[in-house]
């Protein structure tokens, strides 16, 4: 934090703000083109989530899921592993947690933690094959994790339809998770907060996962920056050959980083099923996977930035939902905006090139052309 006004950090912040602004403007231009009432649509997009308590709740809930996913991706990206299996892990954790919450015949005080544990176990196990194939056989983790995602989605659908499907309903879903397993609100049960508590519980389902999320952020930060495991991860990410030369077991670090991230992906899935949808339902995780990646990029792979980035993207997501409900613009616009932001953010040379075009000083232009800006 103390280096915040360092020119490098200011540059990064500038880039992020620039990318976000351009992305949102781009979204507005598209809205102008397709909508009959673009102002109404885009206003709904930008302010929708704040207009009603239940919408605020939606926003916060989605953000929580994104926090967990963002943390999961941050961990593997710090090791420079392009593992993107979080979508599959998330959905299978949701399945596992939901199943345990629904059917394990024990008191909720055991059942709920068991649900969490089941989710984590499944998520970690699902990552083993891609992790090992990458570490010990050099197989592209990008491709294997994508394959496993596709398999996970189908496995999820199969188990849901075959074993959990609620009969006589229109839609592919399971029973609702019993009341005692649903996560309660995050507002503490104190006398002077009763009114707020009731309002929130009625309108939203934002649960005490808020605290878990904050804890997860802290945990991820400590893990990456204050433990030897985190040092190993970052060393491997910075220069795997250097890490090996220095004595670090690179293969083991690669595998561990992927497995540990699975724990965070699992939290996202458990959160989805126990707090948001409260049942296992087809398509419950659509699109979340890549958003986790977006968030990690936005924060430069730093866990501390994840909450803000998640709140931001969660806001966009919630906003797009509102927009779709009240106007003629479909919610997929948010993905287009996110894609634009992602492209702009990853453009390392964006600022220098823009500067080059704008600058009149020839010498500086030549210097910029040659130099690389970090």
């Amino acid at each position: 934090m103390k280096k915040f006004f360092d020119s490098n950090n200011v540059r990064s912040a500038l880039r992020i703000i620039l990318a976000l602004t351009i992305g949102l403007t781009f979204g507005f231009i598209i809205t102008l083109l397709v909508s009959d009432d673009p102002i109404k649509a885009y206003t709904a997009f930008l302010t929708g989530p704040l207009s009603q308590l239940n919408r605020i709740g939606d926003w916060l809930e989605e953000s929580l899921t994104l926090i967990f996913l963002g943390l999961a991706v941050t961990i593997v990206f710090n090791a420079k592993q392009f593992y993107i299996g979080l979508e599959g892990q998330m959905i299978l954790s949701a399945l596992a947690s939901g199943t345990v919450a629904l059917y394990l015949p024990v008191d909720p005080i055991i059942r709920v933690p068991a649900a969490f544990l089941a989710g984590m176990t499944v998520s970690v196990l699902w990552a083993v094959v891609p992790a090992v194939l990458k570490a010990y056989l050099g197989a592209s983790e990008l491709v294997t994790s994508l394959m496993f995602n596709s398999i996970a989605l189908r496995l999820f659908e199969y188990i849901l339809r075959t074993y959990l499907q609620l009969p006589h309903v229109n839609g592919i879903m399971s029973e609702r998770v019993p009341e005692d397993a649903r996560l309660t609100t995050f507002i503490p049960n104190l006398p002077f907060l009763q009114e707020t508590r009731e309002a929130w519980t009625k309108a939203t389902s934002v649960s005490w996962m808020v605290y878990v999320a904050l804890g997860a952020v802290l945990l991820a930060y400590l893990l990456l920056y204050k433990t030897k495991f985190g040092y190993e991860i970052r060393a491997v990410g910075a220069n795997a050959k250097f890490a090996k030369y220095g004595g670090i077991n690179v293969n083991r670090t690669i595998v561990s980083s992927i497995l540990v991230s699975g724990i965070f992906a699992a939290l996202a899935g458990t959160h989805l099923v126990l707090a948001i949808t409260q049942r296992v339902v087809q398509g419950m995780a659509f699109g979340f996977g890549f958003e986790g990646i977006n968030i990690a990029i936005l924060t430069g792979n730093n866990p501390l930035g994840v909450p803000i980035a998640s709140l931001f993207y969660g806001y966009l997501r919630a906003g797009s939902d509102v927009m779709e409900r009240v106007s003629d613009v479909s919610r997929e616009l948010v993905f287009v905006v996110q894609a634009a932001v992602l492209l702009l953010l990853t453009a390392e040379r964006l600022l220098p090139v823009v500067q080059q075009v704008v600058t009149t000083d020839e010498e500086e232009a030549a210097h910029l052309k040659k130099g690389s800006v970090k």
């Binding site: 204050k226 030897k228 040092y231 970052r234 220069n239 050959k241 250097f242 030369y245 220095g246 004595g247």
Partner: protein
């Protein structure tokens, strides 16, 4: 009128390094002109400028009386200049013929590539200039000598009249070197001009007509080769006695610290690179390995330090065989390693200096206490090392990329030496760094050796090997070919013969002094 004139050429890099300082260099048509100097003297830079890869900060290039300016090597090629680089610019999966015509492939009816013609062209050029190559052979599978000939023919295909050769014999066997020299003579007979960068003085005498000596970015002088001796050239190169004047306390050799027996290593492509290496390292002694690069030195170091797996043999430290143990385990045995390529292995450039300094000890107390690391201690640790080793940086939290090459190497050296090594493996420790850092690192190596550390020095700089080592072994084609128990008594000529495989000691002779 000279064919090439480089007038008042200066090249100053962004980081302030002055590679060329008002250099005047000219070449006559049809001559073989040697350009010599130590590492970092500026000869490569000067030629890169001539070939258009670099632009001069100041100065002119005049070819055939006409001033030219090269924006890229394409322009230089247009002026009939060709360069044979030290690191071959070939496409490994393509054939010899394909590589030669690359960029200007002959076409059948202006549409598809005429492969037959490519082969014909290759054969014609090969015959005309006496450069033996196999047109259909895949470059990946041919030896270094042929690869070099392919590079030369590549330039001849583009009608180069002037050929710049950058350290061409660095990777050749003696026979191949002779073949190259005859080829160069043939080229000159056909009217070509050759500029020959080297630091091998014997070759300068053997083949060149004139020689230009550079030192520290400046031209010291240009003379007719027949008018100077090697010692005179060397003096011009170094400015003082040929060998560096390192004050070395007398050797006080102690116990055997590392024993290497019958070490073999096969590369991934199936070539046996180490074919049974034996030697020992003793406390208080620097053992230098002399050899032309490419004879197994790199792999030898990698195998000893656990970065590559040996095929067989033994490496014993404290009576324990550490062959193929992990780098962590080997470091635990107090074997430190200054790697040949600091950018690849020695540092992580984007990480901070302090984090680079702890890669071998981050898990030990006091840097790591139980669950969490103590970064205050890491801070203290790195500040102490920065001070002790005079690493020029205002802040240990800056990334290593902010340091100059010499200071980067100091980070590596600081880390390795501060690990309290039992054995130190130093591979090309002063390659590519400024004179100040070079001197400092050499002093440190000698200091630690005098304090009792067993040091293995691998260096392509024969002068460095000869002046720093107490004992020297020569490595040729993956085997130790000679042992010289008293480095001060060895001569460059004699070492050269062993390094080039022309002479070999018998196993019995060597065993006594290994």
């Amino acid at each position: 009128m000279p064919l090439i004139e480089m007038k008042n050429i200066s090249k100053i890099y962004d980081n302030g390094v002055v590679a060329n300082d008002h250099v005047n260099f000219s070449v006559e048509k049809g001559e073989i002109h040697a350009l010599v100097g130590e590492n970092g003297a500026g000869k490569s830079t000067l030629m890169k400028i001539l070939y258009g890869i670099e632009q001069p900060t100041e100065g002119q290039i005049i070819i055939n009386g006409k001033e030219v300016s090269f924006r890229s090597s394409l322009d230089a090629i247009d002026e009939k200049i060709g360069m044979v680089h030290q690191n071959f610019m070939l496409i490994p999966s393509f054939s010899v013929a394909d590589n030669i015509v690359l960029g200007n492939e002959p076409l059948q009816n202006n549409k598809l590539i005429d492969k037959k013609r490519s082969v014909e062209i290759t054969q014609e050029l090969s015959k005309t200039y006496g450069l033996n190559v196999i047109p259909e052979a895949i470059v990946d599978s041919i030896n270094v000598g042929m690869r070099q000939r392919v590079e030369i023919i590549k330039m001849l295909y583009r009608e180069a009249e002037i050929l710049i050769m950058d350290e061409p014999t660095a990777v050749l066997t003696p026979q191949e070197t002779q073949d190259l020299f005859s080829a160069i003579h043939k080229l000159v007979d056909q009217g070509k001009t050759v500029i020959f960068i080297t630091h091998k003085l014997r070759e300068v005498k053997e083949i060149s007509d004139r020689v230009t000596v550079m030192r520290l970015g400046k031209v010291i002088g240009t003379v007719d080769t027949k008018d100077v001796t090697r010692e005179q050239i060397a003096n011009m190169m170094v400015g003082r006695e040929v060998f560096l004047d390192i004050k070395k306390p007398d050797i006080n050799r102690g116990e055997k610290r590392m024993e290497i027996k019958d070490l073999t290593y096969v590369s991934e492509t199936g070539t046996p690179v180490l074919r049974g290496v034996d030697f020992n390292l003793y406390s208080g002694e620097i053992l230098g390995i002399a050899g032309v690069e490419g004879n197994g030195q790199t792999e030898l170091v990698e195998v000893i330090t656990g970065l590559k797996r040996a095929t067989g043999g033994e490496i014993k430290v404290h009576e324990k065989n550490i062959l193929n143990h992990t780098p962590r385990e080997i470091r635990m045995m107090k074997v430190a390693h200054i790697p040949e390529d600091r950018l690849t292995n020695g540092v992580a450039v984007n990480a901070s200096i302090e984090e680079n300094l702890i890669v071998d000890r981050y898990f030990k107390k006091p840097l790591n206490k139980g669950l969490l690391m103590d970064y205050k201690e890491v801070d203290k640790h790195s500040n102490a090392l920065i001070k002790q080793f005079s690493i020029k940086t205002p802040d240990g939290k800056l990334p290593v990329s902010s340091l100059s090459g010499g200071n980067m190497q100091k980070v590596v050296v600081a880390r390795e030496l501060s690990s309290d090594p039992y054995v130190l493996i130093a591979s090309q420790p002063t390659r590519g760094i400024d004179v100040g850092a070079t001197e400092y690192i050499r002093e440190q190596l000698v200091q630690y050796r005098t304090d009792g550390v067993a040091v293995l020095l691998v260096s392509a700089d024969l002068g460095e090997v000869m002046s720093l080592s107490d004992r020297i072994v020569t490595l040729y084609e993956g085997k130790i070919t000679g042992v010289f128990p008293d480095a001060s008594k060895a001569t460059e000529e004699e070492l050269g013969l062993y390094m080039l495989g022309l002479k070999e000691q018998t196993p019995e002779e060597m065993e006594k002094v290994l």
